[in-house]
């Protein structure tokens, strides 16, 4: 990417959102509908709704649970996925079970976990997020490890790379594009589960707040919560892209090089 391209890219990235916000602003400007307040009202409600207390007791705990569950899923998914992808026996053993769990929609987990772990504390929420995020990461890791080029593995073997070096420099690096694809899917699943996990029982959290506002007919406040949730998604996705751009630059380059051939 050249420097001169940067302003252009920023313009393109911001163009549509700006247009949409403007549309919303003007379309809702004279609105007297209770459920569809003017955007100006929502913007005014924002600072008074999200003061220090809700930040500290709703937003940050939600985000912490999301990141905690997501990181657990990432660690377990990559570790288990690598083990399964490397071993034919393990794969044959696990494949039907994995297919089954993949087919179960993550929100269904919530009542099941509630049954076992109760649904008031943080543990069960983190567990829900972790379990929901696990499958895309796990299955993609298995696929990535399995589709590693044989010649690369033979090269590692013939130069007698040790187990750790092979795992680190060859297996994980080689399957990182697939792992990243799974991790990206899981990120949006994680945000959804963060909200859903807060809907049961008396709770605090970003998702719980939105529902509370809605139930108490605090409609502009509800909208501020939804906007905050959307912004959280954007920030997480941008962070993800930042990591991806650094660690998968080789993959992009290789793909582009192949396309040009």
């Amino acid at each position: 990417m050249k420097i001169s391209e940067l302003p252009r890219r920023v313009l393109i990235a911001l163009g549509l959102p700006v247009v949409l916000i403007a549309l919303w602003w003007f379309a809702s400007a004279g609105s007297t509908s209770f459920f569809w307040p003017p955007l100006s009202t929502i913007v005014e409600a924002f600072p008074e709704t999200w003061t220090a207390d809700p930040w500290l007791h709703d937003v940050l705990p939600s985000v912490a649970r999301l990141l905690g569950g997501y990181l657990i899923a990432l660690l377990v998914g990559v570790a288990a996925g690598t083990a399964i992808g490397r071993s034919r026996t393990l794969r044959a053993l696990c494949e039907p079970v994995l297919e089954f769990f993949r087919a179960v929609p993550p929100p269904v987990l919530v009542p099941v976990i509630a049954l076992f772990a109760g649904y008031t504390g943080s543990t069960s929420k983190v567990l829900t997020i972790a379990l929901g995020c696990l499958w895309p990461i796990l299955l993609n890791t298995v696929e990535g490890v399995r589709s590693l080029d044989e010649v690369l593995l033979d090269t590692a073997r013939s130069y007698r790379l040790g187990r750790v070096a092979t795992l680190w420099h060859v297996v994980l690096r080689g399957s990182s594009p697939r792992i990243a694809a799974g991790a990206r899917q899981s990120l949006s699943i994680g945000v959804i589960l963060m909200v859903i996990s807060e809907l049961f029982g008396a709770n605090r959290g970003l998702g719980a707040s939105i529902v509370q506002f809605q139930r108490s007919f605090a409609i502009p406040q509800m909208w501020t919560g939804i906007i905050l949730l959307g912004l959280l998604g954007v920030v997480l996705s941008a962070l993800f892209r930042l990591v991806e751009n650094r660690s998968l630059a080789w993959y992009r380059g290789q793909r582009d090089a192949e396309r040009e051939r």
Binding site: D154, S158, Y159, R160, L161, H169, Y251, Q254, A257, E258
Partner: protein
């Protein structure tokens, strides 16, 4: 006598088994290579040259026979052996730079950073790629990638070097340079070299012996000694009558191998 034998291939057989289709690639190969020898292998395409090399490299399970390296049976990739794969492009790690690719096996060998850097620079210099250390393999042409694979092998300073058509993708001039490089390194390091090639002239120019393989299922058709002087030169050696005589003989052998001719059953 037996202590000078580096590589002893006895009755090697390899059949690829897959559901519904067995391919008998190598039937019965027996030959020996002395320590420090440079032997070329030629044979028709699909004869099983790559299969043979991968068996020697300890990357394939044998279906029969035995391979011994310095007296011990090869059951896994042996220490001190480097392989330049025919699929050179796929043997380079795309996430590492050229330097990283050459350096990784040295790291694993436990070399210190400074020593590694020196060896990497020296090897890249030898193959004519001193300026490409920071490029990634996919930014290089096929011939350059092949030279990176060669650089990685020579930086490793193996005692046995297996090369599978290592010059297939390079241009004629680079090819001549690399041929001389292999001979120079071979002489300097005393490494045992097994060199597979399609190019009959190359096999005669490089080798002390040329093993001609038959069609599949493969046996050794003939073991041709190359009695050319040790000091070889692209111009004079290749135009000498002795060179022409040997290359004609090997050429005829390969032709007859392609027609399916086989040595008498022993």
């Amino acid at each position: 006598m037996s202590d000078t034998i580096a590589l002893d291939v006895a009755g090697l057989a390899k059949t690829y088994r897959s559901p519904g289709r067995d391919v008998e690639a190598v039937r019965d190969l027996t030959f020996q290579i002395r320590r420090g020898e440079l032997v070329c292998i030629v044979g028709p395409s699909g004869a099983g040259k790559t299969t043979l090399l991968r068996c020697i490299a300890g990357l394939l399970d044998l279906s029969g026979g035995q391979i011994r390296l310095d007296g011990t049976a090869v059951t896994e990739p042996p220490a001190g052996m480097a392989v330049v794969f025919q699929e050179y492009g796929r043997s380079l790690f795309p996430w590492l730079t050229v330097r990283g690719n050459v350096e990784l096996p040295l790291k694993e060998k436990g070399l210190a950073k400074a020593a590694r850097a020196a060896k990497v620079a020296e090897a890249l210099d030898a193959v004519g790629l001193p300026d490409s250390a920071d490029a990634h393999p996919w930014q290089l042409s096929g011939g350059m990638q092949q030279r990176v694979a060669i650089a990685r092998a020579i930086a490793y300073e193996p005692s046995v070097l297996l090369m599978d058509e290592p010059f297939a993708a390079v241009d004629a001039q680079t090819r001549a340079d690399l041929e001389d490089l292999v001979r120079t390194l071979w002489k300097r390091l005393g490494v045992t070299v097994l060199f597979v090639t399609h190019d009959i002239d190359e096999s005669v120019y490089l080798g002390q012996r040329v093993l001609v393989l038959s069609n599949r299922p493969t046996v050794v058709l003939e073991d041709v000694p190359v009695d050319l002087p040790d000091d070889r030169d692209q111009l004079t050696t290749r135009s000498s009558p002795q060179f022409t005589k040997i290359r004609t003989h090997v050429y005829e052998l390969v032709q007859s191998a392609k027609r399916g001719e086989r040595p008498e059953v022993r």
